[in-house]
């Protein structure tokens, strides 16, 4: 933040907003980083089952204290718990589950998303960075729907929803929705539609972004 008063949604408000769009009973993968917070806003009776790429369905909350078991971790290598109905499987099965389109929703963080739904979230491209991709490319293209959760602007104020990604790509045309602190965007065949605004007007958004926008804020459907 650059000293200006924050506007738009806080991270937890944004996580709650994304959680509200996760269908009841969905199989969901939450990427490491910000998207992990969404699990705090999924009610236990939603029937949502969380997948973790290292080989588990039915992942429960983070483990604390005596119940920490280092054989039971999530994709971020944080100790977690198992819920009733959980199952374990090996890595090839876990990624087949992903790639095979069996997950309903995957939520990922991003450096950039393009107007066509290209995703960049694995590498800054700086030559002194050691690259590490993990499951990012499999997640991006695997689920029935890939959502991105991110702040609309980078720390130095640059828009992260862009005409073309300048960072190395994770996947091509794979993002269907982008949830940000200032607005919710849906990537449609006709272009990028704005569905909701938070402390921000459509005109402000148009000035902020170099991406042509369709105003769908008055259409109640999601």
């Amino acid at each position: 933040m650059t000293g200006v008063t924050r506007r738009g949604l806080s991270t937890d408000e944004l996580a709650a907003r994304v959680a509200g769009d996760v269908p009841r009973g969905a199989f969901v993968n939450l990427g490491i980083g910000l998207p992990t917070r969404i699990s705090n806003h999924l009610s236990p009776d939603s029937g949502v089952m969380l997948h973790t790429e290292n080989g588990m369905l039915g992942m429960g909350p983070e483990a604390q204290g005596d119940i920490v078991d280092l054989d039971l971790i999530n994709a971020g290598k944080v100790p977690v718990t198992e819920l009733p109905g959980a199952s374990y499987f090996h890595h090839a099965d876990s990624f087949a589950m992903m790639r095979g389109g069996h997950l309903d929703v995957c939520v990922l963080g991003a450096y950039q998303v393009s107007a066509r739904g290209d995703l960049a979230n694995w590498h800054t491209g700086r030559s002194d960075d050691i690259p590490a991709v993990g499951g990012a490319m499999d997640l991006a293209i695997g689920a029935k729907q890939t959502f991105v959760m991110m702040n609309l602007l980078s720390r130095d104020g640059a828009p992260k929803l862009v005409p073309e990604c300048t960072y190395p790509l994770t996947g091509v045309g794979c993002v269907s929705r982008v949830y940000t602190d200032l607005a919710v965007f849906v990537i449609e065949d006709e272009g990028v539609a704005v569905r909701e605004l938070f402390d921000c007007t459509f005109d402000e958004l148009m000035r902020l972004l170099e991406v042509p926008l369709l105003d769908r804020t008055r259409e109640g459907d999601r």
Binding site: I32, T52, E53, N54, G55, M56, V68, D69, L70, D71, L72, I73, A75, G76, K77, V78, P79, E82, Y88, F89, H90, H91, A92, S94, F95, A96, M98, R99, D118, D129, I130, P131, A132, V133, G134, G135, A136, M137, D138, I141, G142, P168, L169, T170, G171, V172
Partner: protein
């Protein structure tokens, strides 16, 4: 026929310099630390190692890298907050890195064990990790051609083995164990318990004994320290 050995040193005996070695584990879960320690003690060097990561902290795979025994690593997520031994070797140009998306890594290992010659996968299409690779469009979707990944040896940690070499794992420590066991010429397993034949319910066996060559019992395996927010 499986050999049941008395200690990890005997279990890893004969792994030559220049061998390709798959090492199970996702971070520290499922990492066969005692087998890796024995591999370090054996002196084998110039190794190509296949693992999801490139070592955590100072033990296990990190110690093998620190000792300068790894010429090349094939992995998906080398850079972590506690991968300092890999980072140092990489920046010094002393270790080669083949970076593979995690699902492609798993499927390439699976393909090797399953006798598949190559496969088309959507993962990585249009990215720099698919540069120079063959692609194909099928039913309007784009795919990249990937080849199987085999090894001379696999080092795998299981929870229980029976005396024939049937294996069960524990929770998310299963990760790469079953597919690596099938993809290596010689599969070496450390198990917390080794039980008589018939003591494992055939319905719950995860790795059938056909894939296992050597077993050593390591009752209370060491663990690499808990990683610190180590990423994927």
């Amino acid at each position: 026929m499986v050999s049941i050995l008395d200690n990890p040193a005997e279990a890893v005996a004969g792994i030559p310099d220049g061998a390709t070695v798959m090492i199970g584990g996702f971070g520290t879960a499922g990492q066969p630390v005692e087998l890796i320690d024995a591999l370090i003690a054996s002196g084998a060097t110039d190794l190509t190692v296949v693992n999801n990561n490139a070592g955590n902290g100072d033990v296990g795979l990190a110690a093998l890298i620190r000792a300068g025994r790894v010429r090349k690593i094939v992995c998906s997520f080398p850079r972590q907050r506690d991968s300092w031994h890999f980072d140092q070797k990489y920046r010094a140009g002393e270790i080669e890195l083949e970076l593979v998306p995690q699902g492609n890594l798993a499927e390439r290992i699976r393909a090797a064990g399953a006798g598949i010659g190559a496969f088309y996968t959507p993962t990585g299409y249009g990215t720099s990790l698919a540069d120079g690779k063959e692609t194909r469009e099928v039913d309007g979707h784009h795919y990249v051609l990937e080849y199987p990944l085999r090894a001379d040896y696999a080092l795998v940690k299981a929870h229980r083995a029976d005396e024939l070499g049937n294996l069960v794992y524990r929770k998310t420590a299963r990760n790469f164990g079953p597919i690596m066991a099938a993809a290596a010429t010689t599969t070496i397993v450390q198990a917390e318990e080794v039980v008589p034949v018939g003591a494992l319910d055939p319905e719950i066996i995860v790795t059938p004994c056909i894939y296992v060559d050597r077993i050593v019992r390591v009752p209370a395996p060491a663990r690499a320290p808990e990683p610190v927010g180590a990423g994927q």
